[in-house]
């Protein structure tokens, strides 16, 4: 008999917690508080773009890099999906769906940003212009897809790993935090990416393989990208660094799937 911990004994409970977090997040995202952060960021950049053409270039480069990150994440998802058709392993399927969701979510980002910029560029006020229903829906869909994708990858780890107490505590704290801050989506993505980064670091410490290191760097790059996205509210140039970091993260993961490192 397995000496299972509660995560394995009550998978239903975990599903309920995750589903409630997602529902609460959707509710939070729809709220004005949540929208303020992103609308302020985009409006500030687009308004400043009128005065400083270099900031318009930032937006352009930012969107191109975002698109490339989305394509890389989608490529991982498609690659794994094709492998699933042959191997029929559920873990491969879950990972494929997770990366497809993340990729689709990221690809929706530039579309949302462009719609916002188009709306703000016509006005002079920075924050008072409300986002349209289309913009809200696109933005919420984009973030929800990415959040579910990250949760899917975390769930895949729980399928194969026997979490130690500290991991369980971390995840419980993470889930609780999701509930508390539900309204700030980039913080949720930052927490999820940080959690994946800590899991992959623990795998690297345990096995010390080149592949483990590359994946750890990949998730850490994603974590850094979300930190920079939040900080780009203060310094718009950081948004380029954020998108570059995210792109590097997904490219590193894609490389691992295309040319997996040989083990000793």
């Amino acid at each position: 008999m397995y000496t299972r911990n509660f995560l394995y004994v009550y998978p239903g409970t975990i599903s309920i917690i995750i589903m409630s977090s997602i529902l609460y997040t959707i509710y939070g995202l729809w709220s004005e508080t949540a929208l303020n952060m992103i609308t302020y960021l985009i409006s500030a950049v687009s308004q400043m773009g009128k005065l400083r053409p270099d900031l318009a270039m930032i937006m352009f480069a930012d969107n191109i890099l975002t698109l490339l990150s989305g394509v890389a994440a989608l490529a991982i998802g498609i690659f794994l999906g094709l492998r699933y058709l042959d191997i029929k392993d559920k873990l491969v399927l879950y990972m494929s769906i997770s990366f497809l969701l993340i990729g689709a979510g990221i690809i929706l980002e530039p579309a949302t940003t462009m719609l916002m910029v188009k709306r703000y560029i016509r006005h002079t006020a920075i924050i008072e212009i409300p986002a349209t229903a289309t913009i809200r829906t696109l933005w919420i869909t984009s973030l929800i897809l990415q959040i579910i994708g990250f949760l899917g990858i975390i769930a895949s780890y729980y399928r194969t790993l026997a979490p130690k107490d500290y991991e369980m505590t971390l995840s419980a704290l993470g889930i609780a935090y999701l509930g508390i801050i539900g309204a700030v989506p980039y913080l949720i993505l930052l927490i999820l990416a940080s959690y994946l980064s800590s899991i992959t670091l623990s795998r690297y410490i345990l096995y010390r393989t080149k592949g483990n290191l590359v994946i750890f760097i990949g998730f850490t790059a994603l974590m850094l990208s979300y930190i920079m996205i939040i900080l780009s509210l203060i310094e718009p140039y950081l948004s380029i660094g954020a998108e570059l970091s995210r792109f590097i993260g997904y490219i590193l993961m894609l490389v691992i799937f295309i040319t997996p490192p040989e083990e000793k």
């Binding site: 394995y8 042959d86 029929k88 392993d89 690297y204 691992i256």
Partner: protein, 95 residues
């Protein structure tokens, strides 16, 4: 990593163990009898038969007087399986 007394083995890992043992036994010993493959893959008779039936139906594995062997399709499948397993291990999955 151990989960209590037993270790989790995913479907991909079981398939890899079966395929790799067939390949190894055939290459090294010239014979790959099903019972030996089952023993090396560490599977019960029921589970082994189930997997073997599937692999035979998909023309990945075939059988002759020297036991089991990998078909052309089986060799390609082995490569794909190995690559996927290595990638997932790089992610740190216990398979």
């Amino acid at each position: 990593m151990k989960r209590g007394k037993m270790q989790y083995r995913s479907r991909i890992r079981i398939l890899y163990d079966i395929i790799e043992n067939i390949h190894y036994l055939r290459e090294e010993e010239g014979r790959a009898p099903p019972t030996r493959v089952m023993f090396f893959a560490n599977l019960s008779y029921e589970r082994f038969t189930e997997y073997l039936e599937e692999l035979k139906n998909r023309e990945i594995v075939s059988e002759d007087e020297y036991g089991l062997y990998l078909t052309q399709k089986g060799m390609k499948f082995r490569d794909e399986l190995k690559k996927t397993l290595m990638s997932l291990r790089a992610f740190g999955f216990e398979l």
